[in-house]
Amino acid sequence: MKQAIMKLDGLTCPSCMQKIEHAVYGVNGVQDVKVLFNAAKLKTHFDSAATSADDLANVVQELGYTVKSIKVKD
């Protein structure tokens, strides 16, 4: 199980947060996901055998939100 922390561009509507959480949570291998609305951060635990931090970042980008940086921890 790995943890990824992504810094996003500032979020302006609370529904953006639900949208992102929903989408990332739907990815196979994601155990939990939390978007910090005001800090514009996404924290997620995922199974590195099933998906990768870059894949998850792509999911976020596809929704129209810029991912500024990704950090992965074991």
Binding site: D9, T12, C13, H22, T66
Partner: protein, 625 residues
Amino acid sequence: MSTSSSMSKEVTKLNLWYSQNPGKTSAVLAVLIVISFGLDLLHLGTVGPVIMYIAGVFGTIPIAIRAWSALKMKTISIELLVTIACIGALGIGEPEEAAIVTFLFLFGNVLEARTLAKTRSAVKDLTAMAPEQADVVQEDGTIVATDIDDIDEGDQVLVRPGGQIPVDGKVLKGSGSAIESMITGEAKPVEKEVGDDVYAGSTLDSGALTVETSAAGEDSTFGQIIDLVENAQDAQAPVARFIDKFATYYTPAVLVIALLVLIVSRNISLAITMLVLGCPGALVIGAPVANVAGIGRSASNGILFKGGNAVAALAGADTLMMDKTGTITTGKMNVNETKTFTTDTDQAFAELAAIEADSSHPLANAIVAESKKRGIELNAAPEMTTIKGRGLVNADETILAGNPQLMADNGVVLPAAVQEAVTAAQNAGNSVVLYAKDGTVQLMVAVGDHVRPGAAAGLTDLKKHGIKRIVMLTGDNQAAAAQIASGLPIDEVRAELLPQDKLTIVKEAQDKGAKVAFVGDGINDAPALATADVGVGMGGGTAVALDTADVVLVKADFDTLASAVRTAKGTTRVTTQNIVIAVGTVVLLLLGLLVGIVQMGSGMFVHEASILLVIANALRLLRNK
């Protein structure tokens, strides 16, 4: 399959471009709208309206994409309302309405993002202070600059004069003075020597240190503070959570109502205007934004709220209960008097100090500190058991060290001389530790503490800000407690309490309808902190309080406590105002629609204005002291 996926890629790219260039998008829209109106004025026939259609479509596309991506996640968003309204407007030949609405919506979003960033600036400043790198000493003695996330417990880190201390840990080599105001609230530099604890986020004023890491990055105390504040800004007060829930049903409801209007009135224009007017804009943002500004501002002043809940609870508190030792007083105890009842003073004191050396009680610390001062060598002590609120006792109860109650519990009768000395010391505001061996009191040590500077002023200020009753709780005797309370605006003193009594007193007050804020150090009053309507951690060290309290005061003084209550009240007030503004806007717009003075464009304008108004209202919180 491949075409559809490449198309969705194009849409994704377009969506990203729009979201990264909201300013450009709205500027292009504005230019198109102005050109179109200009051409109309020049009576250039159909060119003006055509450009207006282009503007309407150009503006609707990014909003429609966002509406679609939300819809895929089963969320009915504001964007969906706006998209339907704009498509409708384009369909019934009102392109200027669509163009203006999308312009106002997109430009409004730009302004919202800007002003929202301002409400978040206080916390941004805080996170910017988090260390990112550390100079790690390698096994061969070389030094490698390492990313903070790659540093492990036990790594040795070099800190240069003027540099930032990057990790929590113990000083291994060197000495210096550190400024720890972020962690302890103490503005003055603190001397650091081998064996002392240092904290990430503090700066080394002078000297050089090698530090053995105990925690780094998010695990350090400073990392936890940032994490707490970031989470707190999202954790909303009950009223805001209600609005959030409401808004998720409200938006679909607007869609249904507009549809009903369409069916009943057969008037597309009226129905799509309903869609725009019903947008819950200020309602969604109004309450959270107050939270963000209030919590952010407090954090930069060393007041950490764990969330909107804590803010609301502190604002609503009418009774303040506080622990005496370490909260009202500094908790720094000094031995004021030692009185021996045997022939060998030093022997008895050395024995007592050796026993107390294993305890972390403030009284024990004072006695051990005193023994160091006197240069007394501490010998091995017998194994002792702690009896809460009483003292220490060995296995066969022949050695006792504690308060007079402990003596009484164990059948040790105090001779008149001892009783006299105890009473005198207690009346002077001291706590008394008695040391007895085989049923005879050998020694009395009087330990005293002093009231925090500024306590009287801070508590008086609190009474002006809605705190009706202040109660002091202590395990000490009545005389010592009364001595401390005199000169402070304290309504009630409850003395000679056991730790569990504090919890009972909090519950009793709550049963009588009081909203209790409990202020304590979080060390031995954790149950009371947890039971009170709001627990404020003060004076026990930030790391301890982060676990148990709802509100943590990094700087332990009453000025900060009063400021926390003021900010909580201010934040709650702004939240209420913003909800009134948001609901009022929707009501006024609907009334305006009924009497026919509100159009789609003007409706959107009022909406965006109300959103900016609630953000501006929240920004006032950043200015408050």
